[in-house]
Amino acid sequence: MPRVRRNTPRPPARSAPDRRFVRGEAARATATDPSAARAASPQDVGYEAINGAYRVIDEYLRQGQKVAGELWLPGTDGRPGIADVPRVVERFMQSAGDLGAAWLDLFAAGVTPASGKPDATGTAGPFRVGRRADSPTSGSPAAAPVASAVPLVVSTARPVDVSVDASGPVESWSLGAVAGARGSAATGVSARLAPGPDGRAVLTVKVAATAKRGTFTATITRPDAEGPAGVVTIRVR
């Protein structure tokens, strides 16, 4: 076919919506509204900080291609904005137990079910599979899996949910005794923080068949922080 001169517009820089946050809400968070700013909790700040940083750098990268052409300088290597979210952000999401703790190592939690069932990890639709131990007889739908940012080993003969909410480096954690509601004793439920085979601290939770139903907690403290730095919550169902 003879060469035809075509007039084709440049493709757009983006090709997908940005679903991470909404301008209205994010903008209001940084608006000149004293009451809003004052009400921001510590966790808020970290969350907004990261959102803002990604927003700024992504906008910059998007404009990079345009800018490159506008000046006589060769400019950047002309990369348009990253349209699809890199895999690493998925991991970010998995271990976003504490955005303020910059120095926590980030990796998927390993869980050892007492029954020896194969450790199925990954996603099933919207749900993260394999972050808690099921007893083999449990047929109920998965309860809330909460990703932890510390290696977690759960050894249990009952259906449990375990979650860890804490800040600070794992190395600095001290774990208190496990207690039931209103300080009652926690028979059959224990949690321990000890170095694992590779030297890193591992949180081990054990639940015996004799454990009663209920919610048990163990407080995490740090030498340099006043008051509790977090809590391990074990819910026996």
């Binding site: 940084t30 004293p34 900080a49 927003r55 750098i57 300088l73 990369r79 303020g100 910059a102």
Partner: protein, 341 residues
């Protein structure tokens, strides 16, 4: 502990870079005394963070120290040039524990010395042609041109804020400024050219931008914090100097947003007065208000969050790097930037 590794490599690569710089300065001083004056800042010492990042990135991608050190030296010289310029434009008093260059020699001479540093900084990039081959050397030059451009535009933005007495800036505005003025030449550029040198040009430098930005931003916020709460003997600039010069830090921007109307009016007034007329007690009042409104704690958390984001981006940024000391150094930087004093 990883911080020890960082300290060791900073010392090692810093020393290697300083040797090259010293050599270049001595040779240049024989041509004209301005280079002697210009030598002041580079030889005052410093952390050599930029040079080390550049060398470590280069080595982690396969280069030797010798192929990378010239570019590292170039960067430190350009860094000094930026510092001379910044100190003049910010009317600073001190730099690294001693008087700022223009206080010693006057503004005109200092500006000229800054230009001299720029000249010296470009020379190694040209010498790269024999070291790295024309193609890679040219890529490095392109990167340097981009980096300098970002730095200039960043400084221009900050100057406009000051001359317009901008009071309604958001955290995003601050981040944009930091990206251009600081992160590009402190972290993004050294990573990019280091990788280019190490991989002989066969690397996609776009992958370093996010990590470099988050790291550089955390670094800068920490720097701003140290200006308020650091140990003056180790920090090297006068405490609260940023308030004195009306620098738009995260803390100041937060304070502007949360201050009660009367406080805000007073704050605006303080910022409007020329630096020379700014009274010590006004500066102290601003500092106290920042404490009162939690601006400092908030900025600290902000820095932590950004360092965390840098850690997240690290695997993607360094996917093509070799395991070893240099890679560990780079991966330890986000933690290190927060814990330095």
């Amino acid at each position: 502990m990883s911080n020890a590794l960082v300290r060791d490599l900073l010392a090692e690569y810093g020393e290697a870079t300083l040797t090259v710089i010293r050599d270049a300065l001595e040779r240049a001083a024989r041509r004209d005394p301005v280079y002697g004056i210009a030598a002041d800042y580079p030889l005052r010492g410093g952390r050599a963070l930029r040079a080390s990042t550049c060398i470590a990135a280069a080595r982690a991608h396969g280069a030797t120290l010798d192929t990378a050190v010239a570019t590292a030296a170039s960067l430190e010289l350009l860094h000094s040039a930026f510092l001379v310029r910044d100190d003049v434009e910010d009317e600073s008093e001190e730099r690294r524990g001693r008087p700022a260059l223009h206080r010693i020699h006057g503004i005109a001479t200092a500006v000229n010395a800054g230009d001299a540093l720029t000249v010296l900084g470009l020379a190694p990039l040209l010498e790269n042609r024999t070291l790295l081959g024309t193609r890679v050397a040219f890529r490095v030059l392109e990167e340097a041109a981009l980096m300098v451009r970002e730095s200039v535009e960043g400084q221009a933005l900050e100057l406009r804020w000051r001359s317009d007495n901008a009071l309604d800036l958001s955290d995003d505005d601050y981040l944009r400024l930091v990206l251009k003025k600081t992160a590009w030449y402190t972290t993004i550029y050294p990573l990019r050219v280091g990788a280019l040198i190490g991989a002989r040009g066969k690397v996609d430098v776009a992958r370093f931008v996010r990590f470099g930005f988050f790291l550089g931003a955390a670094f800068q916020i920490q720097d701003d914090l140290l200006n308020l709460v650091g140990d003056p003997a180790r920090y090297g600039k006068e405490l609260n100097g940023d308030i004195a010069e009306g620098k738009r830090t995260l803390m100041l921007l937060h304070l502007l947003r949360v201050a009660a109307p009367a406080e805000r009016a007073r704050l605006a007034e303080v910022l409007r007065t020329p630096r020379a007329e700014r009274r010590a007690e006004a500066i102290a009042w601003v500092r106290e208000r920042m404490d009162h409104h939690g601006s400092i704690d908030r900025a600290r958390r902000h820095a932590h969050a950004l360092a965390g984001a840098a850690l997240h981006e690290a695997p993607g940024a360094f996917a093509g790097a070799r395991a070893g000391r240099d890679l560990r150094f780079l991966q330890s930087l986000p933690t290190w930037v927060l814990e330095r004093r």
